[in-house]
Amino acid sequence: MSIPKIIKLVNGEKGNLIRITSLNLEGVMRRRLLDLGFVAGAIVEVIRKSPLGDPIAFRVSQTTIALRKEESSQIEGVLMTNGE
């Protein structure tokens, strides 16, 4: 048991499951991300990272969505331990 580790989506590693806690974005982009399923409480999986680390593909409500680091660095969540 350890304290929940909060990370930014941009820092997730392939295979990580992250339960979103907050979106630090405003306006249209915030709305857009919410519409795509990046809502607090949702669990997203890091599917793959581009060679240079940007963009990153996430699985969110049964769909794969790639985000640029401009957005993925503004979304935080609890890193869920793999395999537990």
Binding site: G27, V28, R31, R32, D35, L36, G37, S61, Q62, T63
Partner: protein, 231 residues
């Protein structure tokens, strides 16, 4: 007898909206332009019990708030052109994602049918959907169909018919927001009502204004701007 009603089809992309549209209209659709936008909407007619249902196939979108032109066309049609019934087509295998749009539509307008498509595929995946519970929770009819196999069409057409004749009244259950937001809605809703009257849902417009939706405000100004002079 000769009465004609406008039925809008809304839904996420790839939920089988156009399949439903084509199956119902028998592929006799033509396209038309709306609201000065170059996004075209397919339209076609269905005859049912001596009435004409004029179907409008709105662009498929995940939301009606993100300001892309597709979403604006779909939103403006539902809000300002006011179809007699809006049918929201959902993918039964992906309800969580699909309900985002459905709940948005339920806030905008009253006469809504939630049409859960691809029910055959969902059942194969072991997904069972209790449409009665959903109907009770949402306050509008929920119907399961398979557009591909033409399953559930009689129920859908009959429900449309019963809404336009007033046999069923839709009472969408309002979404409750946190107290802070509800208080703000209460503050501005009466003023919004003075401006838009019964033309639009004052609660919905208030919510959009609180969200800072300037495009909607401009659209309302354009469409209702002269109204005050007339009255």
């Amino acid at each position: 007898m000769g009465s004609s009603y406008r039925i809008a089809l809304a839904g996420n992309p790839n939920t089988g909206k156009s399949t439903l549209f084509n199956a119902l209209t028998g592929l006799r659709q033509h396209t038309g332009n709306w609201a000065g936008k170059t996004v075209s909407l397919a339209q076609g007619n269905v005859q049912y019990k001596g009435k004409t249902f004029h179907l409008i196939d709105l662009p498929g979108t995940y939301s009606l708030f993100s300001n892309s032109s597709d979403e604006e066309v779909a939103r403006n049609y539902i809000v300002f052109e006011k179809p007699d019934v809006t049918v929201v087509v959902l993918d039964a295998t992906s309800l969580e994602r699909n309900f985002n749009l459905a709940l948005q539509v339920l806030e905008m307008t009253k006469n809504v049918i939630i049409c859960i498509n691809l029910i055959d595929v969902a059942e194969k995946q072991g997904i069972t959907i209790n449409e009665r519970i959903l109907t009770n929770r949402l306050g509008v009819p929920v119907i399961k169909i398979s557009a591909r196999n033409k399953k559930g069409f009689p129920m859908l057409l009959d429900t449309i018919d019963r809404i336009v004749t007033g046999a069923i009244e839709c009472q969408p259950v309002p979404m409750a927001y946190p107290d802070e937001i509800e208080e703000k809605i209460k503050k501005i809703e009466p003023k919004v009502f003075e401006l838009v009257g019964n033309q639009l849902s004052a609660r919905w417009v208030s919510l959009r204004l609180l969200d800072g939706d300037e495009k909607l405000l401009n659209e309302i100004n354009q469409r209702f701007g002269q109204k005050e002079v007339v009255e």
